[in-house]
C-alpha cells in the first residue's frame, strides 16, 4: 500500500476538482475513480462557506483534501495561501504549485524549493508540483517534501509522459513517493507511469473534460492498477533484437 507522511492509500490514483461541467459530475467521476485523495484549488473554493459548491458535495471522510496553491506566482503568495487555508480548516496537507507563467503553468523551481523549505518548517505536509528535474527532486526531498510530483508534460496538455527519461531517474533516486502529475491524457499514460515505478499518478483534465467523465475515471483506475501490478510483477527486460519465446538455439552439436 502507498504511504505518504504516515497515511496509507489503497488507490494510487489521485483526483482533481477543476474543469468539470458541474459538481455533480465531478462527484460521480471521483467516486468512480476510487481515489482517496483529491486536490482542490484554493482560488476556487470558499473554505469558510459550508455550502461551497465543491467542498459540500465531497465527503471529507472518504477523501483526503489536498488544497493546492494554483495561481501563486512566487513563494510568498503560495505560503500566504497555505497559511490561510490551514487557518480555515484546510488541514496540513498541501499541493504546492508555484506557476508564474499563466500560459504554460510550468512550476518555478527556485520559488517552489523556497516555499517548501518554509512550509515544512511550519508543519505542513508538502507535496510540491515540479518539473521532472532529478536534482530538484532530491533538493525538495532533502527540504522535507512528503512526496514529489514531477510533471509528465505541461498541465492540461494530455501529451502523456514526455519527461520519461528524467522521471525514471527521479524514481530510482527518491526516498519519498513519486507522484506523476500533469499531462496524463489517457489511461495508457497512467499505466506507463505506474509500470515505470511511480508510486501514484494525479489525473484531472483528462477525466474532467472527457465525453463521459465517470467512465474514463473507471478506465484510469483500472489502468493504474494494471500498471502497478505489472511493475510489482516485474516486466521483462527490453531488448533490441527479437527473442523467440521457445528458443531454438542450435546446440545439437553438443554431446
Amino acid at each position: 500500500m502507498l504511504t505518504i507522511a504516515g497515511r496509507t492509500f489503497r488507490s494510487r490514483l489521485f483526483g482533481g476538482t477543476g474543469k468539470f461541467s458541474s459538481s455533480r459530475v465531478m462527484k460521480e467521476a471521483l467516486d468512480a475513480s476510487g481515489c482517496e485523495m483529491v486536490t482542490v484549488a484554493l482560488r476556487r473554493i470558499d473554505l469558510d462557506n459550508p455550502e461551497d459548491d465543491i467542498m459540500s458535495v465531497l465527503d471529507r471522510k472518504k477523501y483526503l483534501f489536498l488544497p493546492n496553491t494554483s495561481g501563486a506566482r512566487d513563494a510568498d503568495e503560495a505560503i500566504r495561501l497555505a497559511r490561510l487555508a490551514r487557518a480555515s480548516g484546510g488541514g496540513d496537507w498541501l499541493k504546492l504549485e508555484v506557476t508564474p507563467d499563466p500560459r504554460t503553468l510550468l512550476p518555478d523551481p527556485v520559488e517552489t524549493l523556497k516555499a517548501t523549505e518554509i512550509l515544512v518548517k511550519e508543519g505542513f505536509i508538502v507535496l510540491p508540483y515540479m518539473n521532472a528535474d532529478p536534482i530538484l527532486a532530491l533538493r525538495l526531498q532533502d527540504a522535507g517534501a512528503a512526496a514529489v510530483m514531477p510533471l509528465g508534460s505541461p498541465i492540461g496538455t494530455n501529451q502523456g509522459i514526455m519527461t520519461a527519461f528524467q522521471i525514471e531517474i527521479i524514481i530510482n533516486q527518491a526516498r519519498v513517493p513519486v507522484v506523476v502529475d500533469a499531462g496524463l491524457g489517457a489511461p495508457s499514460h497512467a499505466a506507463q507511469a505506474m509500470e515505470m515505478g511511480a508510486d501514484a499518478v494525479l489525473v484531472n483534465t483528462a477525466i474532467a473534460v472527457a465525453g463521459d467523465p465517470v467512465r474514463i475515471a473507471r478506465a484510469f483506475a483500472m489502468a493504474v492498477e494494471a500498471g502497478r501490478d505489472a511493475f510489482e510483477a516485474g516486466l521483462g527486460e527490453k531488448r533490441v533484437d527479437a527473442s523467440a519465446s521457445s528458443p531454438e538455439t542450435g546446440l545439437d552439436f553438443l554431446r
Partner: protein, 366 residues
C-alpha cells in the same frame, strides 16, 4: 514598444489567403500570424463550422467545461473625451453621476447578494471626478467581500497601476477601440483619449506594474474587423513575449445603440464576430475570451463551449443602476437582459459549470 502596422499593410497579409491556407491553418498544431490571417480571411467563411470545432476543442482542453462569471459596476458617467460612438461622450446631454464611496459599496453589496464574486469597476475618463485615490479606497473596501476586482477606467501611469494592484485590483481592461489609426483619429474628437500611442502602450504599463491580467480589445463597428483581429493577435503575441507573467484576455465589444446619433461605420454580424472569436482562440489557446451582455442571450447561449471563457451577467451600464432600476444615463443598452441566475442556469443546461469564484484576495498581502 509595441507598434501596430498601418492597416493597409495588414490588409496585404489577409489578401490572397486561399481555402488551402485556411485548411493548413486548421491543421497546424501551432498557429502563427499568417495562420491567423488565413482564419480571419474571407476564404475562411466557408469553413466556419470547422473553425468552431477546432476552437471548441482547444477551449475545452485548456479551460475545461467552465465559464467564469462577473458583473460590471459602473462608478461614473462623467467623461472629458468626445468619442463619436459612446453614450458617455462629453457632448451628450445625459444625466451624469459619480457614485460616492458609500453609494458604490451599496451597489457592490447588491451584486454580492446576487452571488457575484468577481466585479469589474467601470467609469468614463474624468480624473477630476474619479481618480486613483477613489479607486484605491473602493478596492480596499471591496476586497474583503469579493474574490476578484478588475477595472476598466481611463488609462493610468505605471506607478498608479502599481498602487491599485497593492490595493487589491488584479486585472485591468483597456481597449484600443480601433487599431486603425486613421479611424481612431476620426472618432476621437477631443480629450486625452485622442493620444493613440499612449493608449496603445497602456497594456504594457499595466503588465509592468505587476497586474495579474490585462484585457485588450477592439470595438467592432469602427474599422475592418478582420484587420482588428490581426492587430489583436499581434498585440497578444507581443505582450506574451514581453510580459510572460501576465495573463491576457480579449474582449469583443460590438457597437450597441447608445446616446447620440452615431451609426457603426462597418457592419459586423454574428457570423463575423464568431469567426473573429474562433480565429483568435485557435491563434492563442491560452487567452481568456470575454463575451459580455452586449450580445443577446440567444447568441451567448449558442457560443458556450465554442471559445469564450468569461461571461458578464445581469449587467446594468448606468452608475447606480443596480439599486435603482429607473435610473437613466447608461453607457449603452445591453442585449442580454437575463439575471445572473438565469444566465448560470442556462450555462448549466449546456453542460458547463458557471464559475463565480476563481481567485482569492489572499493571494496578495494586505
Amino acid at each position: 514598444m509595441f507598434t501596430i502596422p498601418d492597416f493597409a499593410d495588414l490588409q496585404l497579409l489577409i489578401k490572397g489567403c486561399s481555402a488551402a491556407d485556411v485548411e493548413q491553418a486548421l491543421h497546424n498544431e501551432k498557429s502563427d500570424i499568417h495562420d491567423l490571417a488565413a482564419l480571419l480571411s474571407p476564404a475562411a467563411e466557408a469553413f466556419l463550422p470547422q473553425l468552431a470545432a477546432r476552437s471548441a476543442a482547444i477551449t475545452v482542453r485548456r479551460f475545461g467545461r467552465t465559464i467564469q462569471i462577473y458583473a460590471p459596476l459602473y462608478l461614473s458617467s462623467f467623461c472629458t473625451n468626445r468619442c463619436a460612438y459612446c453614450g458617455f461622450s462629453a457632448e451628450n446631454k445625459i444625466e451624469r453621476r459619480v457614485l460616492s464611496i458609500d453609494e458604490a459599496m451599496h451597489e457592490a453589496e447588491i451584486l454580492h447578494s446576487r452571488g457575484f464574486e468577481h466585479i469589474l469597476l467601470v467609469s468614463g475618463e474624468a480624473p477630476g471626478k474619479l481618480g486613483v485615490e477613489y479607486l484605491e479606497e473602493i478596492a480596499s473596501k471591496l476586497r474583503p467581500r469579493f474574490a476578484a476586482i478588475s477595472i476598466e477606467v481611463q488609462p493610468l501611469d505605471e506607478d498608479e497601476y502599481a498602487r491599485l494592484f497593492k490595493a487589491g485590483i488584479t486585472s485591468v481592461a483597456v481597449y484600443q477601440e480601433t487599431y486603425d489609426r486613421k479611424i481612431y483619429d476620426q472618432v476621437h474628437l477631443s480629450g486625452k483619449k485622442c493620444d493613440f500611442d499612449y493608449r496603445l502602450a497602456t497594456p504594457s504599463r499595466v503588465a509592468a506594474a505587476g497586474m495579474r491580467e490585462v484585457g485588450i480589445g477592439a470595438l467592432l463597428g469602427l474599422s475592418d474587423w478582420r484587420l482588428e483581429g490581426l492587430a489583436l493577435g499581434l498585440h497578444l503575441a507581443w505582450l506574451r513575449k514581453h510580459y510572460w507573467r501576465t495573463a491576457l484576455t480579449v474582449s469583443f465589444p460590438r457597437l450597441r445603440p447608445a446616446e447620440g446619433d452615431f451609426q457603426p461605420l462597418v457592419k459586423v454580424g454574428e457570423a463575423q464576430l464568431s469567426q473573429l472569436i474562433f480565429a483568435l482562440r485557435i491563434f492563442d489557446p491560452d487567452v481568456g475570451l470575454l463575451l459580455s451582455t452586449r450580445e443577446e442571450a440567444r447568441y451567448r447561449d449558442g457560443m458556450i463551449g465554442l471559445g469564450p471563457t468569461r461571461y458578464s451577467a445581469g449587467s446594468c451600464t448606468a452608475p447606480g443602476g443596480y439599486g435603482d432600476a429607473e435610473i437613466s444615463g447608461e453607457q449603452f443598452s445591453v442585449g442580454d437582459h437575463r439575471s445572473m441566475q438565469e444566465v448560470c442556469s442556462d450555462i448549466c443546461h449546456k453542460g458547463y459549470d458557471p464559475v463565480r469564484k476563481d481567485w482569492d484576495a489572499t493571494f496578495q498581502e494586505n
